[in-house]
């Protein structure tokens, strides 16, 4: 085992996919944003100069090109940049890519992969900090992938680019530089298979993306007080591995769901509803949701910190869940 950053694993996945499948191409000049990892994509341009495109600032147009190209047999990876900009491509995501297979009675496919950098990245203010994938979860027809580690990013991207369905891949901007363990030979990871990132008897915590390392930090602190957290990372929201989540709750009897999307109609809400509906008998206490409040994201640091889930807030929520019931 060695360590690799999320960003490096993402680039490895793209490189390997392009090498193994000539239909794969990249529409997006800044797949890793403008941060220190951005130069990692240089080797994609060097090795596949005809298959990496720097598009204009045209989120809707770029997304549509990806959708149309995928209908015509290609496997484009379309980077939408900062996730907040995906709203400009909403029609292409939710009303073209997501519905094409259904609307043609299964005769046409749109195997496009979209990527965007989501989340409270630090100083992004309201318009560069959003996590739109909860909204996309309400658009049937899109697979949604939210990796939390380098190995998961690699494996899930390989699966996304091989998937016959349109896939939305979200990477948290703060995950890009985080290094995690990877095996020598990274491999594809099937969708719909949750990963238990930490075993524990006392409480089930469900989280994706950046909230996974935050939850691990919280779990270490809690372990010092004898509280053992079981951390379930669904990895893909569509398809969702409900079975693993409910089985974990059946062992612990308690559930805390952590997510950076706002509370109302959000990811934590949907997972909580699923467990309440299908696993109520296992619950010893009310489900707790840790999310952003229903406000836009402010710029100034104390304001931003106040609205963003962090390890301390997660630990406090877990303690609360253990006291209740």
């Amino acid at each position: 085992m060695s360590k690799q950053s999320y960003a490096a694993a993402l680039v490895d996945a793209l490189h390997d996919a392009m090498r193994s499948d000539p239909r794969v191409s990249i529409i997006g000049g800044y797949v890793l944003g403008l941060g220190p990892q951005r130069t990692l994509t240089d080797r994609l341009k060097q090795d596949f100069p005809d298959r990496v495109f720097d598009p204009p600032t045209s989120e809707a147009g770029n997304a549509a090109v990806g959708v149309g190209a995928s209908m015509a047999g290609m496997r484009p990876f379309v980077d939408l940049g900062t996730a907040s900009f995906s709203y400009l491509a909403w029609s292409q995501l939710t009303n073209e890519a997501a519905v094409a297979h259904y609307m043609t009675n299964g005769r046409l496919t749109a195997p496009v992969t979209f990527h965007m950098l989501h989340g409270v990245r630090g100083g992004g203010a309201a318009q560069h900090s959003q996590s739109p994938h909860a909204m996309l979860w309400n658009a049937p027809g899109l697979e949604i992938v939210a990796p939390s580690t380098a190995a998961d990013a690699y494996g899930l991207i390989r699966t996304a680019l091989a998937s016959p369905n349109p896939t939305m891949l979200v990477s948290h901007a703060k995950l890009l530089g985080i290094e995690t363990e990877v095996s020598e030979k990274k491999s594809a990871i099937p969708f719909g298979v949750a990963d238990i990132k930490r075993r524990g008897r006392d409480v089930t915590v469900v989280a994706t993306s950046l909230m996974v390392p935050y939850c691990l930090t919280a779990a270490e602190a809690l372990a010092k007080d004898g509280i053992e957290v079981e951390l379930v990372d669904p990895r893909t929201l569509v398809p969702l591995d409900e079975k693993t989540i409910i089985e974990s709750v059946s062992r612990t009897g308690r559930l805390v769901v952590v997510d950076e999307c706002p509370l109302r109609g959000g990811i934590a809400s949907e997972i909580a509803a699923t467990v309440a509906e299908r696993g109520f008998k296992h619950l010893k206490a009310p489900i707790v949701r840790v999310t952003r409040p229903d406000t836009p994201v402010p710029f100034s640091l104390p304001l931003e910190n106040f609205v963003t889930p962090d390890p301390e807030k997660i630990a406090a929520a877990v303690r609360g869940a253990l006291k209740a019931g």
């Binding site: 549509a64 149309g68 190209a69 009675n105 005769r107």
Partner: protein
């Protein structure tokens, strides 16, 4: 008119144009008879554009169409029975009843998903062009859309991308706003655009742009053939604005057969156009116009026209019978085909 390959092609055009005309006349009857619900859009009056434009494509090429798709789908060779069945929401329809009139699609003939969003067609077609360029097989993609599609922002983004990357896309703009009454007079929406010369839009991006008479099938075919040739040799994209006066039946908010069931004898001297649509019959109906040119070939041509009409009416009558006799989809199948692999959903 001289006999030869040109005339043979004209007859082929007329065969498809007449098929579309009889299909659309049947659609109006089915709507009037209450066989399907919802709004719909007819291709009558534009057959002289879609048929010769699509005829210039090859089998390997892709197409994208819009809410006004019936003519395009048939021009490319889709089965009229499956087309009518789709409009009626039947299980045997092109889309299994999931699309309806707005979304008729025939993937095996190269159609991308038929978007009901007016700018959707242009932008998806640029994706088709991107795929063609990546394939490097000389294939092209044709977008067939109305002038209203240039009111939506994504169209501009897509035109810009196509121009920047020299994608092999033929933008076939069917400008059918001429003579339209428009919303202000209670009619169907027509173009609401500050530009009075739509060709200036693609031209401003360096896209080769040309305007043709959309009623003149031969002119459309010639312009499209040139455009496709440019695109195949990497000199695309090309924008064509085909001018087709608004057919009176598409003027009201809901379509009606304003000019009645087309009487081909108006092209052969067997019937004389009169009434308030006389000018349409004499000059702007692309079917009558082409039929009239072919009828000039003499007695033999007149007989051939009559035989073609009879065969076409029979074909559409059979298609309508098939559609009306087709079963509705089983309700529980509404849950199928959200994803390619149902198990993963």
């Amino acid at each position: 008119m001289p006999k030869g390959p040109g005339e043979k092609r004209q007859w082929q055009f007329l065969e498809r144009m007449l098929l579309i005309r009889r299909f659309e006349e049947t659609v109006v009857k089915m709507a009037t008879d209450g066989h399907f619900r919802g709004h719909y859009h007819l291709y009558i009056g534009q057959e002289g554009t879609g048929v010769p434009a699509i005829a210039a494509l090859k089998r390997k090429d892709f197409l994208a169409t819009t809410h006004r798709n019936h003519g395009h789908i048939l021009a490319r060779g889709a089965d009229p029975g499956a087309g009518l069945a789709e409009i009626l929401g039947r299980a045997t329809g092109l889309n299994g009843g999931r699309g309806g009139t707005i979304h008729l699609c025939e993937p095996k003939l190269g159609f991308l998903s038929t978007s009901g969003v007016v700018g959707g067609c242009i932008s998806l077609a640029v994706g088709g062009g991107y795929a063609c360029a990546q394939r490097r097989d000389g294939s092209v993609t044709m977008a067939l859309f109305g002038d209203g599609a240039l009111e939506e922002g994504v169209s501009y983004e897509a035109l810009n991308i196509a121009a920047l990357w020299h994608l092999p896309v033929i933008f076939m703009c069917e400008n059918n706003s001429a003579g339209a009454m428009g919303m202000a007079k209670g009619g169907y929406p027509s173009l609401v655009h500050a530009s009075k010369n739509l060709l200036l839009i693609p031209k401003s991006m360096g896209i080769k742009s040309v305007r043709v008479d959309g009623v003149d099938a031969a002119a459309v075919h010639a312009a499209t053939t040139r455009a496709i040739s440019l695109c195949r040799s990497g000199r695309g994209p090309v924008f064509i604005e085909a001018m087709t006066p608004r057919w009176a039946g598409s003027d009201p908010l809901w379509p009606e057969l304003a000019t009645g069931i087309t009487d081909l004898r108006m092209a052969t001297g067997g019937a004389v156009p009169t009434g308030k649509h006389q000018a349409w019959f004499e000059h702007y109906d692309p079917v009558l116009r082409l039929a009239r040119e072919l009828a000039n070939g003499g007695e033999e041509s007149v007989h051939r026209l009559s035989a073609l009409d009879e065969a076409t009416r029979k074909r559409i009558a059979d298609a309508a019978d098939f559609a009306l006799a087709s079963p509705l989809p089983a309700p529980e199948t509404a849950l199928n085909h959200v994803f390619v692999q149902e198990a993963s959903a």
